[in-house]
Symmetry: C3
Subunit: 213 residues, 3 copies
């Protein structure tokens, strides 16, 4: 577990999580636009708003310059992801493709969001809360634009998977893991929980109103 054993450059891993998160959230937004049979420009709008929406909220909360406003490459990533969906025949798209892309975005953004907040000197607990909050905002914006029920209120585990990834990262760091190891492990564990929840229909015990008290 010594950093030297895992030869992943720290910055590269976090940057990769950032780009992956942006791209897959963008694609999930474009998929919703596909389902609604929207036009190309509206496709790209959905891709952009979903791809950068969560990170925008994070940057505003921590007082950072909004990342994509000062770096056109992220907006281009969103457009490419949107175009990729546009040119994909609908019959190739699994009905659950949005959820799978969203799951990857959830894992990547929860960890990257927490790491970015910590790099701005935010307390680890609050940094994890913002990793969760801003990850969820991406899906909320997408579902809001499309007028569909928010992914947050579905019975499956969602926020909990984001919380697992976002919370694990600072805990692993405190335990002595390198940023690369902590980031990779936290993202994989968060994705795995969400993936199992989707495929097995797993849920945590929901509020039962004290019937079991």
């Amino acid at each position: 577990m010594a950093p030297a054993v895992i030869p992943i450059p720290i910055d590269s891993l976090l940057a990769a999580l950032h780009i992956v998160g942006t791209a897959v959230f963008a694609a999930s937004g474009a998929l919703v636009a596909a389902r609604l049979r929207l036009t190309l420009v509206t496709f790209l709008f959905f891709a952009l708003a979903t791809g950068v929406g969560g990170g925008t909220v994070r940057d505003l909360l921590i007082g950072a310059p909004v990342f994509w406003v000062h770096d056109p490459r992220l907006a281009i990533v969103c457009c490419v992801a949107g175009l990729a969906v546009w040119f994909t025949p609908y019959r190739w798209l699994s009905p659950r493709a949005v959820d799978w892309l969203d799951a990857v975005g959830l894992a990547a953004y929860s960890v990257f969001g927490t790491a970015k907040a910590m790099s701005y000197g935010i307390d680890p607990f609050i940094a994890a809360v913002m990793g969760i909050l801003t990850t969820c905002v991406g899906g909320v914006i997408r579902d809001l634009l499309a007028g569909q029920p928010s992914i947050l209120i579905r019975p499956e585990i969602y926020v909990t998977a984001a919380a697992l990834a976002a919370g694990l990262y600072p805990i692993l760091l405190a335990g002595g893991a390198s940023e690369a190891v902590a980031g990779l492990v936290a993202a994989v564990v968060g994705f795995a929980l969400r993936a199992v929840a989707m495929t097995k229909g797993w849920g945590l015990p929901a509020y039962r109103g004290g019937d079991s008290d």
Copy 2:
């Protein structure tokens, strides 16, 4: 009415309004999560987003550091409020409990939001507008997350009660009242209007399309 007669420290009253507003909005968000039978982590997410959402918008608008990002105690207040709802048997919760908590939050946030904006040198008229706007944002976020119709478009007085509390505060200050007196009176009056509107079904004259002109 002289400040010396009312021995409430000014900062304490405004700080109390802030904490009360955050806690009751958080609890109202958790109650909506209870109605939707969500899991514990999603409960806490609803509590946090509803509890700090309005104040976050206020701080972004006035250019202040977002309050809860730099002070973990407010997030903890939201979690405690969410947990309190989680452990309360549903049959103990009045069907209108969300509205009552929301009414307390409305009064507290309208006054505190106005006071905080004024402390940043914002014009009193705009400060009151922001007290109103950001109070309403809390309820809008909660209703949006839950996919339910916004509290703003219900027939009862809502925005008007927020406006009364937010507008009364600078007027009382201009009239010579201390911050503590102005804050307490404005919050109580705003709450009273909302309470009467809820219990009596009071509404103001609504737009009738000039039928009465």
Copy 3:
């Protein structure tokens, strides 16, 4: 096309687009409140939130002070627009009045938003993206508050018209046009596309899922 031939002061034109955009979006918000038969204060809230919402997001994204927080005149413009709708008999209001006001706001805000972002040193491509994004946010906020389907997902051209206005402005500038000419031409062309789309029911080719591949 030399700037000297067109004696429109640059600042005046952009300032006019700003005020026009704010006023017509505010009126469109009030019209939605009229349709919902809301009370006067809620009317003004809808007018304000719709009128300044898009520009608020733009200013937060580019790191500018939020325009209306430091200049009460814009909030007053919104209130006047809201009152004008309040005192207009409903039978005088065309059922499509919201869409027409929205179209004017779209053209004005797309150009002004792009120009303001460029004045903060933002890359022209991103500036245009923000012109589009923030224009669309106004309508999204209005439709969200009212609980109605977002204007973005209607079959007619909407985001594309905003993109045309927002994209044309920096292109015309790069081609040597003055700010006034570029702003006026871009706004008129964007409005014309939206107007034709509304009256003729024009749409762009929508996603067909590769059926035509």
